[in-house]
């Protein structure tokens, strides 16, 4: 029996999208599924990785960078996004700057039953904050990342990328 490997979202595709969209800083708390992405980002001379201690910080650090004329993205897990509610309100939505937030969709799957409450509440959370989002699962989806950047710039609002490849992850 031949098992075909499912298509994946490669770290290179993500980093290429960051570069294409002029990203200068990635403000992040790495999770266990994104180690290789972290290493790849650290290797890019045009990109400054800003590690935070808790996810709420990431949105505020991003605001400071935006005021300074930089182009940050926030890269966190959905659990941390939910922890960041007031920071998203006060430091992003109320501030009126464009921000792409890349969110690892812990617990999500396309074919099975979702049992992880982190996944169950992710989209309702984004809807409650009226933040639009795009699901990205594999390299073929990566143009949606540029779509998110365009939308963020046009609306001066946050736009989320949900990385639905959380359990493939970016490890190698």
């Amino acid at each position: 029996m031949v098992t075909q490997q499912a298509a994946v979202l490669s770290p290179e595709a993500m980093v290429e999208e960051f570069q294409k969209n002029g990203v200068t800083h990635v403000v992040t708390i790495p999770d266990s599924e994104t180690n290789y992405l972290y290493e790849l980002m650290k290797d890019q001379p045009w990109l400054d990785v800003v590690p935070a201690s808790r996810e709420g910080e990431t949105f505020a650090i991003a605001l400071g960078l935006l005021v300074a004329g930089q182009t940050p993205v926030v890269l966190i897990q959905n659990t941390g996004m939910m922890e960041s509610g007031d920071s998203i309100r006060g430091m992003v939505l109320d501030a009126g700057f464009p921000l792409v937030m890349v969110v690892g969709y812990r617990g999500w799957n396309r074919h099975g039953v979702i049992t992880d409450s982190a996944a169950r509440y992710t989209e309702p959370f984004l809807n409650a904050f009226r933040i639009n989002y795009y699901l990205v699962e594999q390299n073929d989806d990566s143009p949606r990342i540029s779509t998110a950047f365009e939308e963020a710039r046009a609306t001066k609002r946050p736009v989320a990328i949900l990385v639905g490849d959380e359990y493939h992850g970016f490890n190698r």
Binding site: L63, Q70, G96
Partner: protein, 196 residues
Amino acid sequence: MIHAEDVFRVFQEHRGDAIVIPTGTSGRRWGEFSTNENRDLNLGGAMGQTTSAALGLALGLPDEKVVLFDSEGALLMNMGILATIAGKKPQNFCHILLDNECYATTGGQPVPNAQEINYAGVAKESGYSSAYSFDDLEEFATNVEEIMQATGPVFVAIKVVPQIENEPIGMRVRPPTRSRAETIRDLQSELGISAD
């Protein structure tokens, strides 16, 4: 303890071209002393996250001195930011904590462990380049120039007299201040940063 207004009066003489971010109830008086309004910045607030926003600004403008007047109630909500700041080592960042030992805006209830905690000690052990503590104005005045010249991140904890507010929130009279959007616009214009 020192009156925050005295801290500001002394600091202003040594400010130079620094971008200043005042926060908290103590920080409200800064506008009376500032002589460079275009470099005064309101970054808003979100449960202690102004500190994080100030870090972002310092990282994004490495050639500009950034001074944050923080408050201890805010810092306690987000103490991990000390490690985040120390980890990125922004040499242009001066973090001044105005510690009034209480939540002045909610009636003056004490913050946790208000009198025993050593904020400068926590900052120094988190990895700040240097850290100072003051509860005497003359001592602060003697050291402020050295502080402003020091390589950051620098942390300064100052014990200040609380300005406690007990009026119902809707009855409080606030002096007119520029909005966050206005201060951002003015700073970006001053520095030639495109708003698009």
